[in-house]
């Protein structure tokens, strides 16, 4: 198992040992830049979904409106869960920078559990709505709502599977340049989903409740 202390000096030659670990292998900077660009595409994807939602928001076809539908406690709990998970995700990266494998794993697992709780709550919320007859087939508004929020939820679910795979690797290989890069990238993804959620929370839920 390679530790940070062993790894760093070997890279001191061309970067003076100043680079964070995730940038030290040749593919590190490429993957990280590539991932930033991927996030840009995802921004466009969500922007398109948001635009669709705003166009169709009032198209309720006699069915429930956003104000009637959204329960404040539900989306508040979801928000707290996801924001907290973003924070614990940062703590994980901090632990990684300090080369503390145990803490890194611990915080990643906490993040993962919070993510699972978030998805669980969201599913619960969706099922509640469906039970009231507010399914995505009911009206254009509901189609847009379930698709926008559901796409975010699907992203989080994917992130959970991905993070679990990285946790396994850290447990096996420790904090090396590859795992550092993977952890860094998955944390970028996680924060990105957090930011998307903040937009959903404010423009979909909050504006829906107060409108």
């Amino acid at each position: 198992m390679t530790t940070v202390a062993e790894k760093r000096p070997t890279n001191a030659g061309h970067d003076g040992g100043r680079l964070p670990l995730e940038y030290t292998r040749h593919e590190g900077p490429l993957n990280i830049l590539g991932f930033w660009i991927f996030l840009a595409t995802d921004v466009v994807l969500f922007a398109s979904l948001f635009a669709t939602y705003f166009v169709l928001r009032t198209h309720v076809d006699g069915g429930p409106t956003d104000k009637e539908l959204f329960g404040i406690s539900g989306f508040t709990i979801e928000t707290v869960l996801l924001l907290t998970s973003s924070f614990t995700g940062s703590l994980a990266v901090y632990a990684m920078r300090n080369g503390n494998k145990k803490r890194l794993l611990g915080w990643l697992i906490v993040t993962l559990l919070l993510g699972i709780a978030f998805v669980g709550y969201e599913l619960h919320e969706f099922l509640d709505y469906a039970a009231e007859g507010a399914t995505m087939q009911r009206s254009a508004f509901l189609s847009a709502f379930f698709t926008l929020v559901g796409t975010h939820g699907a992203h989080v679910t994917f992130g959970i599977i991905w993070m679990a795979s990285i946790i396994v690797q850290i447990a096996r290989y420790g904090i090396d340049a590859i795992n550092a890069r993977k952890t860094f990238i998955v944390s970028l993804y996680w924060h990105f989903l957090d930011i998307i959620w903040i937009f959903i929370f404010t423009t979909v839920y909050m504006m829906g409740v107060v409108s």
Partner: protein, 655 residues
């Protein structure tokens, strides 16, 4: 049991048309022939090891190229069928349903399954060589992109014999494409195959942006980078910001059709305009995704064959970047006639016209690259020269179309058809063919036969004008697009007949290109120098075909047109090789996983097409498993020992 099986087969397979049965037979015969040949020559292992599992950008490029040429054939046959049907009034060669399917597949295939892979072929083959890199940034992802494209195209083409083809035009506007007016799996084939190949396109966009930004040879600053690579960068930036809108448009329409949502339906609050906006937010940039690399090819070819530096390099780069920005702001010119207010229309009209400015600048710069040069009329140069007037006229009619009130008269008419074929054939296809002829020796090590190529060139060019010039006039006569026939009283017969003749001339041109390739494989002049055209950029410094690691030693670049200046100073890569001992090279390992992932995507797509959700789920789970397997993989590279590189290089006479 037998009865229900029969009934199922009756729906599942397309029946009732002699053309379809003929193609069924052709498909079975060709597939058997391929299987037999591979088995007989014991080439299965070779196919798997050398091609299906490759992550080498050059091989992936060649696979894109072969697919693009096959799709050009299919799309071209579609075009000839349409032109045959329209040659005379009241023909019953095709019935309306069949005609509708054919213009839909023609448009979709030509844009997404011909132009895109053709572009990606050149991206892959040229960019790493031109910027002095050993591969793209993400070779594994590159292979995934190709296989997603491949299986997307396969799924789309399958609709010809299974389930039925989509029949609502390549734009697939709802509410026509909703279940109520378009039941059956045809439209699902369109939605899912575009979705699958679209994911691949986004990945390609990301891949090449990172490749170009991060992997240029030392000394090659952005302003010393060849214009083709610049154009690829511009094109990929557009891909990255435009394709997600298509992803969403297709996904939402698919939800409507598969899950009963109401995004674009007429009832329950759906809004079809939303689809049209999302579609063109991608659709208009798509035109520039295709044409900018063609511009790049023209810049390279014109400079090389005028033996002169490209004129106004900085302006050329600026023009590319200006187009990259403006092209996002013009999409609504595709629907000036859909009730937008005068203010909106005026804005989009003027914004669209603005694109004409940088484009005009590029044309003048090409002309002045030739000015005071020495022009060699080789095949690539012929296509480049043919490109300029054709694209200039196409661009001019584009500016005419941008004048919103005039567009009320052109919209949906044959004038529009003539315009966009002139930009897409005269612009994209001429440019890509110029690139194909130009880089062919680099890919395969021999030059395509000049005599046959000139025949092909003249047939295709004359055919083009004979086919499309009459369409401008037909537009003024009020002929609308997508009509499967017309009555004789309209007076459209003469021009339509002429146009059909032109289409067949182009068809002959295409066959001559095929003949030229086949002939040249055996008799074409071999390229032993690696620099048959007296080129200017780094790819010509390498031997043809290029060894799989590209550069034994990454060259240092100090000027634009790096290879030209090296030659001026009497330098070669061989000389650089000798300066110091060669070092071992890290290369990515071949892997079959991208192919397998493509298969799973195909399974998922096929399942959803027929609403077999169990099958869709199996496919998607397969995709996730391949992703996890990749995430867990750590040993992805291997090392080529210095000794092996030394041997390869000296065999190529480079040591």
């Amino acid at each position: 049991m037998l009865e229900s099986l029969k009934e199922f087969a009756g729906h599942f397979f397309v029946t009732g048309e002699p053309l379809i049965y003929m193609s069924d037979v052709a498909i079975v015969v060709v597939s058997l022939a391929i299987v037999f040949t591979l088995t007989y020559l014991k080439k299965w292992k070779w196919l798997w090891k050398e091609w299906l599992t490759t992550v080498d950008h050059k091989k992936i490029g060649i696979m894109y190229l072969i697919s693009a040429l096959l799709m050009l054939f299919r799309g071209g046959v579609d075009a000839l069928l349409m032109r045959t049907q329209l040659a005379l009034p009241n023909l019953h060669f095709l019935d309306p349903q069949h005609y509708n399917e054919i213009f839909t597949t023609h448009g979709t295939i030509m844009i997404l399954f011909m132009a895109m892979p053709f572009l990606f072929a050149l991206f892959n083959i040229v960019v790493p060589l031109q910027i002095g890199a050993r591969d793209v940034a993400f070779p594994y992802l590159n292979a995934i992109s190709f296989w997603l494209f491949f299986f997307g195209a396969l799924l789309f083409n399958l609709s010809f014999v299974i389930g039925g083809s989509p029949d609502a035009g390549w734009v697939s506007y709802p509410p026509l494409t909703e279940l109520a007016t378009d039941p059956g799996p045809g439209e699902n084939f369109y939605l899912l195959s575009l979705q699958i190949s679209g994911i691949g396109s986004i990945a390609t966009g990301i891949n090449f942006i990172v490749t170009i930004l991060k992997m240029r040879a030392p000394g090659m600053t952005l302003m010393k980078m060849p214009l083709f690579s610049w154009s690829v960068l511009a094109s990929c930036i557009i891909i990255v910001f435009a394709f997600p809108a298509l992803t969403v448009a297709l996904a939402l329409l698919m939800f409507d059709r598969l899950f009963g949502t109401h995004f674009f339906t007429m009832l329950h609050g759906g809004n079809p305009m939303m689809y049209i906006n999302l579609f063109w937010v991608w659709g208009h940039p798509e035109v520039y995704i295709a044409v900018l690399p063609a511009f790049g090819v023209i810049s390279e070819v014109v400079a090389t064959f005028s033996r002169k530096s490209v004129f106004g390099y900085k302006s050329m780069v600026a023009a590319l970047m200006v187009i990259t920005v403006i092209n996002y702001l013009v999409w609504a010119h595709h629907f000036f006639t859909m009730g937008a207010s005068a203010g909106v229309n005026a804005y989009f009209a003027v914004a669209t016209m603005l694109v004409g400015i940088p484009t005009g600048v590029k044309v003048f710069n090409w002309l002045f690259t030739m000015f005071r040069g020495r022009i060699r009329l080789t095949l690539p140069m012929l296509w480049a020269i043919a490109f300029i007037p054709c694209f200039a006229i196409g661009g001019a009619t584009g500016v005419m179309l941008a004048a919103a009130p005039a567009d009320y008269q052109y919209h949906n008419s044959f004038f529009l058809i003539a315009h966009f074929h002139q930009t897409l054939i005269g612009g994209v296809v001429f440019g890509l063919l110029a690139g194909l002829y130009y880089w062919w020796p680099k890919m395969f090590g021999f030059i395509l036969d000049e005599r046959l190529g000139k025949w092909a060139f003249w047939f295709f060019n004359i055919g083009f004008y004979v086919c499309f010039m009459p369409m401008y006039a037909l537009g003024f006569m009020g002929m609308t697009r997508r009509v499967y026939t017309y009555p004789a009283e309209t007076g459209w017969t003469g021009l339509n007949f002429v146009s059909t003749i032109g289409a067949y001339l182009m068809g002959i041109g295409f066959l001559l290109i095929v003949a030229q390739v086949l002939y040249s494989i055996k008799y074409g002049k071999r390229d032993v120098t690696g620099d048959p055209w007296d080129g200017r950029t780094l790819e010509w410094a390498l031997p043809s075909p290029v060894p799989h690691y590209n550069f034994a030693r990454i060259p240092e670049v100090s000027e634009l047109d790096a290879w030209w200046h090296m030659k001026q100073n009497g330098e070669t890569l061989a000389a650089q090789n000798k300066k110091a001992p060669l070092e071992p090279i890290h290369m990515p390992k071949n892997t079959g996983r991208p192919f397998i992932m493509g298969v799973f995507f195909f399974i998922a797509g096929f399942g959803f097409v027929f609403n077999w959700f169990w099958m869709g789920a199996i496919g998607l789970i397969g995709v996730v498993i391949t992703l996890i397997a990749r995430s867990q993989e750590r040993d992805t590279e291997y090392e080529i020992p210095a000794e092996e590189i030394r041997r390869t290089e000296s065999a190529l006479g480079r040591l």
